[in-house]
Symmetry: C2
Subunit: 277 residues, 2 copies
């Protein structure tokens, strides 16, 4: 999916919501545990209920890997289900990968290869260019590079300023633009970072940003839009726990759909406010 | 395995070699492809041939993940085979993970939980303390934090100096010592970094270092030992491709054993030179 197609989907759905599939066997409704593949059963129901209100899904690899083989099966089934039934949804493999060149090439094959053909993968920048560029070798696929994350630990290294006053996340944003473009790279910027979105936009005015941290982590959608939205929206705002665990009863999917719809309606207002609808 | 036990194993084996299991289905001997699980068949033969000459194995997760379910099966079988047959070997899951707290906790469960009980996992520092600390919650397990990696891209961000002249890898070494100790943390420092080992040792004199980059990547064992060895050796030096792909014929395992033995003999000399044998 290219940038224009993503923006077209955002306008059609009046939403730039990404639903995070952080599916934890310990948190899903009890009645699903009788299913042959409870994780996939949960994801399928969540996707069916939320697809009208979002443009992207972000399965978080950690949650699948922690279940070993069963988890990988559920991950693959989920990706294939979304691709078959909702081909306009943008899929993010939230994997935070990154290693020396030949190893990153293997990770890229895992996510972008023929078996799964996922749209994008999150990548950590610490190891530099040759850890990122193998992911950029796939036409039509996206790297989503960590820049300024939503967690408390983001302050440990990402805000460290160099001799010229440039902070690490700014150096990542600036340097990485030599590796790819706004047609194959996005950046992770946490919703909890508030007005720092303006500093991010000063460096990457045209790139899409993947924004975690609204919902359970407490970031503000209005503030993210105020400082982060651009002429092609430029935002995929993720919510995981607040949507998928909205309810633990047998009505969990309807509750998730309802929560997703609430966020979608706020997003429609923001898109109108910024003249994009 | 604790630090003293690791050092005891190093003295007993006269080796601080870690064999990297970067097993690529495209590079293993052809006759193995007829096996039901070629990746595991290869690893089993490599482990049996090299175990007398090394103290650690480092399966690189990317190589297994890229094969999907089959890869995960081979990874789990390999870990269990090493643990059952060579319980004194230290196992490194080379995964370069790191995410917000609740997600890192899931990754920690994948590697350290009851199913696999791997000794250690490599972790990327970019997201800071709460991305690392969940891995430190497991008694007897180790975090191996990326500090100064062996690849060209290590220069992009790891060498950036802050206003006081402290480079990013130095800040990672210094800051992370508040999170764990030399009994549950090691650091990745690439063999290709040469005399920068002295700068690393100035900050972490007592920690073990996991050192990739000899062999195919060109780093020098003698230089690593000169600047990096401490009173408990303090080094696990990894070689992957130069050992496991030493030969592509049916004699591949014997050739790998022979290469491992050559490295072990150089290591025994270094240990003697530093008064540790």
């Amino acid at each position: 999916m290219n940038k224009q197609e993503l923006f077209d989907n955002i306008r059609a759905k009046q939403s730039f919501l990404c639903v995070g599939l952080d599916t934890d066997i310990k948190k899903i409704p009890e009645h699903l545990l009788a299913d042959e593949d409870p994780i996939f059963a949960f994801n399928k129901a969540i996707v069916d209920a939320t697809a009208p209100f979002c443009v992207a899904y972000k399965p978080n690899l950690a949650f699948y890997e922690s279940l070993g083989l069963k988890g990988w099966t559920a991950f693959e089934k989920t990706v294939k289900y979304i691709k078959s039934n909702y081909p306009d949804q943008f899929i993010v493999a939230d994997a935070k990968r990154g290693d020396i060149g030949n190893t990153s090439a293997m990770y890229a094959r895992s996510f972008f290869g023929e078996e799964l053909e996922i749209d994008s993968v999150t990548v950590a920048p610490y190891m530099g260019e040759d850890s990122v560029s193998p992911f950029l070798a796939y036409d039509g696929k996206w790297v989503i590079l960590l820049a300024l994350t939503s967690n408390k630990g983001s302050h440990d290294f990402q805000l460290t300023a160099d001799e010229k006053g440039e902070r690490m996340f700014e150096k990542v944003l600036r340097t990485s633009q030599q590796w790819g473009s706004d047609e194959n790279m996005m950046y992770v910027v946490g919703a909890t970072q508030g007005s720092m979105f303006a500093d991010v936009r000063a460096l990457v005015p045209d790139h899409f940003l993947l924004v975690p941290g609204i919902g359970a982590q407490g970031g503000s959608l209005a503030e993210v839009c105020k400082y982060g939205m651009n002429s092609m929206c430029g935002l995929l705002v993720n919510s995981s726990r607040a949507i998928i665990y909205a309810d633990k009863s047998e009505d969990f999917a309807a509750a998730a759909g309802s929560e997703a719809r609430k966020v979608q309606q706020q997003m429609a207002e923001e898109l109108k406010l910024h003249g994009l609808l």
